[in-house]
Point group: C2
Chain length 181, copies 2
DNA sequence: TAATCGTGGATATTAAATGTCTACGAAGGC
DNA sequence: GCCTTCGTAGACATTTAATATCCACGATTA
């Protein structure tokens, strides 16, 4: 059992957008560069978040992605459900009914105890993720990291192209110990 | 994210063994027929349970599998860990450190909040599974199903071969509404 | 000694995750 | 109106894991 990469990508991108000023749209390329992710594949993951109503996509110049609602109203579970789906990782195949001597459907009115236990565990997992919002996560971002991001967003507002700034000029400064999250 | 079939197989087989009398060993073929599972692949899953110290394998004629310890001392989590491993389904790739402006390792002394949230959820999931033992699950098996199994185990003790009994003779009776779990 | 078992490894098959590419439509600036 | 910057949608290719099968081998018992 393993969660796809899209979960980490989606959570980090959503968390980054949660720290963007008001309604600023962040282009996909900027997000991809920020975390060194394949832009084309990231597009797929972000589409899921848009379809789920977590992100809002803006077309055209100065376009990009922004949160569809306040960070305090988006839980980690919301992002998980959008990227991974809401299905229980345990899929009961009812092998009780398949054997040499199959259980009759009447005896299966109540789902088998095993499936019940697995479902309860899944609910506990979901409840834990539902208890945390993007706003709370944003509050835990270290101050220096947050300020670095603020500068990045400012750049974005001024020059619509090459959101990371001139690559050659900032290479030295970037390697000197800047931070993001 | 999805759990492998082996989880359901392992849980059902362990639950069945939990209902077997004292130290009776149940051959793999019997288990496979009981749930209509591919015997060769089931062997792989059972090996994991043996390696984890949950099952004990007995070689030779009258051999098979039995629980390595009392059902009350085997939790659902034990089986899950044996079959699926104990790894967190969320693997943090620390994409914070990979971007155009990487976060310095010093700023990552504390694991990123996102990973922390995911880990906590995983712990909640595990705690939920750890709270249930095979003995408790066995107690929830319907009475008629349990008695059917008792008869099956008795057959096993008497005739070492063809644990399911003569296939042709029991076909009609088997379809008439017998039960197992 | 022969028959019944489980073990371990090699191998094939299938499904899903991962990643890329291209044509297209939407929206703003000139 | 036209062009550029964007996201969208779908068709692919690639990689990895799950699923499954098979066989030679050792252990055990009648």
């Amino acid at each position: 059992m393993r969660l796809s990469q899209g979960v980490e990508w989606g959570l980090h991108c959503a968390l980054l957008l949660a720290q963007a000023p008001d309604g600023l749209a962040v282009p996909r390329r900027t997000l991809a560069e920020h975390y060194d992710l394949p832009e084309a594949y990231l597009a797929k993951q972000l589409q899921s978040l848009v379809a789920a109503g977590i992100l809002h996509a803006v077309s055209g110049p100065r376009g990009g992605y922004r949160l569809a609602r306040p960070p305090a109203e988006i839980t980690v579970l919301d992002v998980l459900d959008a990227v991974e789906g809401t299905a229980d990782p345990f899929v009961c195949q009812e092998i009780r009914q398949r054997g040499v001597i199959p259980v009759t459907p009447e005896q299966c009115r109540r789902p088998c105890a095993i499936a019940a236990v697995m479902t309860r565990a899944h609910q506990a997992w979901r409840a834990s993720l539902r208890a945390v919002t993007l706003a709370e996560l944003a509050g835990r971002v270290p101050r220096p990291v947050r300020e670095q991001q603020r500068a990045r967003f400012a750049q974005l507002r001024q020059s619509p192209r090459r959101a990371g700034g001139p690559r050659s000029g900032t290479a030295a400064a970037g390697a000197a110990g800047s931070a993001h999250d």
